[in-house]
């Protein structure tokens, strides 16, 4: 631990770790916005042709689909970040 915290190398690694984290966050948030604001609201007319149980796919995304995607996103992020922590050696002991 002490070795990893020597200066210089840590600053570089820290910046790389943070940049990788921000990249994962941005990708996740694009999906987050796409399923809710996109498929659920703004792009709903585009999905109107796809029927789901008496209504269309946009309705399903607005009432259920987006929630399921949100769940997947959070668990993906937790898994990916815990892996990233180990790759950069910044995990907690």
């Amino acid at each position: 631990m002490a070795e990893r915290l020597t200066h210089g190398k840590v600053a570089e690694d820290g910046a790389g770790y943070w940049a990788a984290n921000v990249r994962i966050i941005v990708i996740s948030l694009i999906i987050w916005a796409l399923v809710s604001f996109g498929f659920g609201i703004l792009l709903r007319p585009m999905l109107a042709g796809i029927e789901v149980g008496g209504t269309d796919l946009g309705f399903w995304f607005a009432q259920q689909g987006s929630i399921i995607v949100f769940l997947a996103l959070i668990f993906f992020y937790a898994w990916r970040m815990n892996k990233l922590d180990r790759e950069y050696g910044v995990e907690e002991e």
């Binding site: 770790y17 009432q63 959070i74």
Partner: protein, 599 residues
């Protein structure tokens, strides 16, 4: 055994359970009172967060709002779950790494300014108090129904119970109590929904039942439940259930407001201070959403199925046949619920044209005017149906067994109580820990701190009860205003504190104040000053509002203003000192989180 006794039994038994747990795990030291010694497992923490989170708004109010509006109110579903993504990705792990007890401590330290901390405390108190008003509305409905008294009397009794309950223990008592409350409330929500889904569609999973074919179709073969619902509501002149009727701008801003607000509410964020490690904080947010999703995936089914059941009860011979007779409502057992709810003052009907039948239809619709004139109808005769009663009345509407009704009463109270308790805790810690000990009287003893925390709770609940007597909207709508306030003030400051090293003390204070003041003014201009009815300058409708944005959706705009002001002001004032840049660096990296730091 009659229904009243059965309700008392279920409510009494569930309360005995919570109080038993609270006494067993009673908080001793200040550190235990706030954060339970950081020894809570992510799954346990997730379940407690879910109970804390799913309040009267989610449990009692939301499905009713969806039932009577349909697709447009999907915003509540997306907004109140999507916020957890923001929380998990943008805040929770970093705030846990920071390792203090409260949100305002982070803001005070990161922006190296007691003023910033003070402003954050004020923002928290404003948002949380508005939130408690919404809870008290729900508490009034739940107590009114189960004691079979008026809504007002129910509210006053409920306030006393909430207070007694919140004073009992701190977070530790509350954490394990809330696990028990989660179990009670999710069973209470799901079991009747499963019964109703089976009755209507033959599918035991309500979330799937919503998109299935219904077996109760009035003889023309099977059709999809949503198709059937669309048809009967439009027959009666109401807006169709599945189509959009609200403009995209308001839908997007409202959803965004709820999402950002979720990630800015102190009582939810505080939960992530209580897990042992940074990686646990990431998982915790996911587990919380798992337990929340169990209810949120069921809620739209509850709404749609209840709307179908109510309409069928009011039009037992189909929408082209005769409406239900007054005599039937007064004598037939399947209409008993209407009589019980009438006592609360939240449901009423009136035979306006004296034909002995109660016609339920949309008398504001032009298409219906002709039909009404032809049939001699003189207006909608189901004169009052408060949205907030739908979930609690749902098992009675579907004619389910008495024990299910008792269970729902217990669940509704659990939902309202758990959140009210969590909020009161957040308010009291803001006042005693941040305001008094942090700023005004730093030498205060632990005992005096606990005492002032309890006094703050008493004041908060008194204010909320007073305003809850004339609430600014249905429970979920009032709660949505609280989210707007949290979205506009707290979330941007937290996020900039982590993701920017450049935003400084002056910028953060200016940002929070402009976000909060803008949002609060906009809400007061549309909802009345301090929510007093009649003092509003603009009607709270899309067309009448100041910027064409409803007051419930304005928080998202407030948040943008907060970000912009903070950034511009920071760029024009001195850079942040080196130790703050180091603090931000350390918060970003999980290693070395360590235990709780008392101070």
């Amino acid at each position: 055994m009659d229904q009243f006794t059965l309700n008392l039994l279920f409510v009494g038994a569930s309360f005995a359970l919570y109080i038993g747990i609270a006494v067993w795990a009673r908080a001793g030291t200040t550190s235990e009172f706030y954060a339970a010694g950081r020894g809570v497992h992510p799954v346990t923490n997730g379940m407690a967060t879910a109970a804390d989170w799913m309040s009267a708004a989610s449990f009692i109010s939301m499905a009713g709002l969806i039932a009577f509006t349909g697709y447009d109110n999907s915003t509540y579903l997306m907004g109140w779950t999507g916020g957890y993504v923001l929380l998990a990705l943008l805040l929770a792990p970093y705030l846990r790494k920071f390792g203090k007890f409260t949100v305002s401590e982070f803001i005070g330290d990161r922006f190296y300014s007691p003023t910033a901390r003070l402003v954050a405390v004020i923002c928290l108190i404003v948002a949380s108090t508005t939130y408690v008003i919404g809870q008290m509305t729900g508490v009034g409905v739940a107590f009114g129904r189960f004691l079979e008294i008026s809504n007002t009397a129910g509210l006053l009794i409920g306030a006393c119970v909430v207070f007694a309950y919140a004073v009992f223990g701190g977070m530790k008592g509350v954490t394990y109590t809330q696990v028990a409350q989660y179990v009670v409330l999710i069973m209470a929500y799901t079991i009747p929904a499963v019964f109703i889904s089976l009755q209507l569609t033959g599918t035991p999973i309500p979330a799937l039942g919503l998109f299935s074919e219904t077996s109760v179709t009035g003889g023309e073969g099977s059709v999809y439940l949503l198709t059937k619902l669309d048809q009967i509501v439009t027959d009666l002149g109401f807006a169709s259930y599945t189509e959009a009727h609200k403009d995209n701008l308001n839908m997007v801003l409202f959803t965004l407001s709820l999402m950002i607000g979720t990630a800015g509410l102190p009582h939810v964020i505080m939960r992530f201070f209580t897990v042992p490690k940074v990686s646990d904080a990431r998982w915790s947010a996911g587990w919380a959403l798992v337990f929340i999703a169990l209810l949120y995936l069921t809620a739209p089914a509850v709404g749609a199925m209840a709307r179908l059941n109510i309409t069928n009860l009011m039009w037992p011979n189909g929408t082209d046949g005769d409406a239900v007779a007054v005599q039937t409502i007064e004598t037939a057992p399947e209409y008993d619920w209407m009589q019980t709810w009438q006592k609360t003052g939240l449901l009423d009907w009136e035979d306006k044209n004296g034909d002995g039948l109660i016609q339920y239809y949309n008398d504001g619709s032009d298409a219906m005017a002709e039909k009404a004139a032809a049939n001699g109808w003189e207006g909608n005769e189901l004169t009052n149906f408060n949205r907030d009663i739908l979930v609690l009345a749902n098992p009675e509407i579907a004619n389910l067994p008495g024990w299910v009704i008792g269970l729902v009463a217990a669940g509704g109270l659990a939902a309202a109580l758990s959140t009210a308790a969590g909020l009161l805790l957040a308010i009291s810690s803001a006042v005693s820990h941040d305001l008094l000990k942090g700023q005004l009287t730093p030498n205060m003893s632990e005992k005096a701190e606990l005492m002032s925390a309890r006094i703050a709770m008493a004041i908060a609940i008194a204010v909320a009860t007073f305003l809850g007597l004339n609430p600014p909207g249905f429970a979920a709508q009032t709660v949505a205003l609280a989210f707007g306030l949290a979205a506009a003030s707290i979330f941007p400051a937290l996020m900039m504190g982590i993701f920017s090293k450049r935003v400084n003390n002056i910028g953060a204070v200016a940002g929070m104040l402009s976000g909060l003041i803008f949002t609060l003014l906009y809400i007061f201009l549309h909802k009345g000053w301090f929510f007093v009815a009649g003092t509003n300058s603009f009607p709270d409708t899309v067309d009448g509002s100041l910027f064409g944005i409803q007051s419930t959706a304005i928080g998202a705009v407030g948040a943008v203003i907060n970000f912009a002001v903070a950034y511009v002001v920071s760029m024009r004032t001195a850079d942040t000192p080196q130790e703050i840049k180091d603090l931000v660096e350390s918060v970003r990296i999980p290693a070395g989180a360590g235990g709780a730091v008392d101070h």
